[in-house]
């Protein structure tokens, strides 16, 4: 089959690899109909997350048809022919964490638990198409994928819903929603969201679903800010303001946003000396992440407010204003999305026609064009917000 493989920093390549096989009783094989490039794939592309290996198949947003099931799967749970969206986190369904609905913290799905344990004390769940620290599972930017614990994660999609409305249930729609949930929004709240990428776009809309009065979205690309405005947000282009914290104060009667969401993560951009230092340290691998947004969010947040972090961080960060965090009595919540909590209710919204997630799509291309799309997406060229790949389309250039 064809698969997008990580072949080194800034080198993604479509390779011909063996078709996946069932390896465990609860596995299923899915023939992929649609798959996407995620912003978190760009961290891999840029080489900032350790434990990638050459040849790893990437991608964690995919859906398709079940073509093979392991002996341990009951037909009432999943059978050949089912059309499913597969969540990017892998969960066993029976451990302490799964039982508490903390699905992305499953204790039994990471075969390389010990690597994550060395770095983080404990390991979160395994992820598709990510680093070996996160399990090293082959990903979904391919024609087929093996799905472990397939009776827990995949959710069946009714035939009436086209791929483009269902595919984002695999990650970014629930992740954006989770970002808003973690912010503990109360009626009347003002929420500031850093970043206007696809996850942030879903967060903006989810904040309103959860009762926010105002959402202020921050980015530097006009096309993304316009998409945020279309979702009801007020926007700030941070390249046009001197002091983002003061701007947020000015916009909120000097009280600050009640809730702050970091939908950017480890490769944030900014201007100024501190940012240049982070950039240099990250290049030299002295600091793994650039925590520009976290610093701003902690400074800007209303006293007693909440900082929610759906943005991806990988390792260690410098100069976090802990004094501000402690003395202002802030709460910070973070995590990979507990997918299985949100997929069903969000699918229901899509099914009822209350919400159409397909608005984030900017590019629909064959899988063969994935390598160039990584660069376009990373460099924010062609007004790129979200790339959907068709693994079966003819590789010839198509618009």
């Amino acid at each position: 089959m064809k698969a997008v493989c990580y072949m080194g920093v800034e080198k993604m390549s479509v390779e011909t690899v063996p078709d996946p096989a069932i390896l465990n009783p609860r596995d299923a094989i899915v023939k992929i109909s649609s798959t996407c490039i995620c912003g978190s794939d760009l961290h891999l592309y840029d080489g900032f997350i350790p434990t990638m290996e050459q040849g790893d198949i990437v991608g964690h947003e995919f859906m398709g048809e079940v073509v093979e099931v392991g002996a341990g799967l009951k037909p009432d749970k999943l059978k050949v022919g089912d059309r499913v969206v597969v969540p990017f986190t892998i969960a066993c369904g029976n451990c302490f964490f799964c039982k508490k609905q903390l699905w992305s913290l499953c204790n039994n799905s990471n075969p390389n638990y010990w690597i994550a344990e060395e770095m983080m004390g404990f390991s979160p769940s395994g992820l598709f198409g990510y680093t070996h620290m996160m399990g090293g599972y082959a990903g979904g930017q391919a024609q087929y994928a093996r799905v472990p614990f397939a009776d827990v994660g995949p959710i069946k999609v009714p035939e009436g819903i086209p791929d483009e409305k269902a595919i984002f249930l695999s990650d970014i729609f629930p992740t954006g929603y989770f970002g808003a949930v973690m912010a503990d929004i109360e009626p009347g709240d003002t929420v500031a969201i850093w970043g206007c990428g696809p996850v942030a776009q879903f967060s903006i809309r989810s904040c309103f679903m959860l009762g926010a009065e105002r959402v202020i979205a921050i980015d530097r690309f006009d096309y993304r800010l316009r998409m945020a405005q279309a979702g009801g947000a007020e926007t700030i282009n941070y390249e046009e303001v001197d002091d983002i914290v003061q701007t947020l104060k000015d916009m909120t009667g000097n009280i600050g946003p009640d809730r702050c969401i970091d939908a950017v993560g480890m490769e944030a951009h900014d201007h100024g000396l501190m940012y240049m230092m982070d950039r240099a340290k990250q290049m030299a691998r002295i600091e793994m992440d650039r925590p520009v947004v976290l610093r701003q969010a902690i400074q800007a947040c209303r006293k007693g407010g909440t900082v929610s972090v759906p943005g991806v961080y990988a390792g260690f960060i410098d100069k976090i204003p802990m004094g501000a965090f402690m003395n202002k009595g802030l709460t910070m919540r973070a995590g990979q999305t507990h997918m299985m909590r949100y997929m069903k209710p969000l699918l229901d919204k899509v099914e009822k026609g209350e919400f159409d997630p397909s608005f984030v799509i900017s590019h629909r291309v064959p899988l063969d064009r994935a390598p160039e799309m990584y660069k376009i997406f990373r460099d924010k060229k062609e007004n790129c917000t979200k790339v959907v790949l068709d693994p079966w389309a003819d590789g010839a250039r198509a618009a």
Partner: protein, 256 residues
């Protein structure tokens, strides 16, 4: 990184001899080479390699002999004590999650024959006898005379609070006899607690999820040389004479 190679390598020099053994030289040269390769590779993996390789090389030059080995670990498993007790009491199940064990066969209700894999896949054998047991709470056993090494093991099962499952404590002590035991002691001493924790993690997965998560045998694109080395060096992989390096390069040849 892996049981196959890394444990013997990093444990090189733990034997009784104070002169540099071939393993130690291997670790020194191999670790040094890895460090140099890592430095030249401008990537996080490279840095990790450099650090790892350097450490291996350093350790090779600085190890004290340690003749005995105790492995202990504890784990909380989301199942009832009787389930995991029953599973453990059938010692033939142990190789399903204890990677260094090749087989355990029952001789009678209390006695069993164990075969472990030492470095390089060399088999190490002993017979064991259960010396004490309380149903759903405790099992202890020890090796019988004429074994390759002396083993004392015990496992305790306690219900965890608030229905959180079962707390399991394991202690296994190995005293190598002369000869074959030494090599295994090298392995066991360095990685003993670590290896035991990995074993118990596999036990947890078996009891809770019904299977042990794996990516062994999944599809991938072309690997490079260093990745092949890394794969072999995975300390959680079973000790086996079948080198994963060979597997990696066989796959590479097939694809090339």
């Amino acid at each position: 990184m892996a049981e196959n190679a890394r444990i013997p390598i990093t444990d090189a020099g733990r034997g009784r001899s104070r002169s540099m053994s071939p393993q130690r030289w291997g670790a020194l040269i191999g670790g040094g080479a890895l460090a140099i390769y890592g430095i030249t590779r401008r990537s996080p993996l490279g840095i990790a390699l450099a650090a790892g390789g350097g450490t291996v090389a350093l350790l090779a030059t600085n190890r004290k002999p340690t003749p005995e080995s105790l492995a202990s670990a504890t784990i909380l498993i989301n199942c009832r004590p009787e389930e995991v007790y029953r599973f453990w009491r059938d010692f033939e199940n142990l190789p399903r999650f204890m990677n260094h064990l090749e087989t355990v066969s029952k001789l009678d209700d209390r006695r069993s024959r164990w075969v472990a894999l030492g470095p390089g896949g060399k088999p190490i054998r002993w017979d064991a006898e259960i010396i004490n047991e309380r149903e759903n709470e405790h099992i202890s056993w020890h090796s019988l005379p004429d074994s390759d090494l002396q083993v004392d093991g015990r496992v305790d099962f306690r219900p965890a609070p608030a229905g959180r499952g079962t707390l399991i404590d394991v202690r296994i002590e190995y005293s190598p006899s002369l000869g074959t035991g030494n090599a295994l002691a090298n392995f066991l001493n360095k990685g003993a607690n670590f290896a035991m924790r990995q074993d118990l993690r596999r036990l947890e997965a078996m009891m809770e999820a019904g299977e042990v998560p794996t990516i062994e045998g999944q599809s991938h694109g072309r690997r490079d040389f260093i990745t092949g080395v890394m794969r072999v060096a995975d300390p959680t992989r079973p000790l086996s004479p079948r080198s994963n390096l060979i597997e990696t390069f066989a796959a590479r040849r097939r694809l090339a």
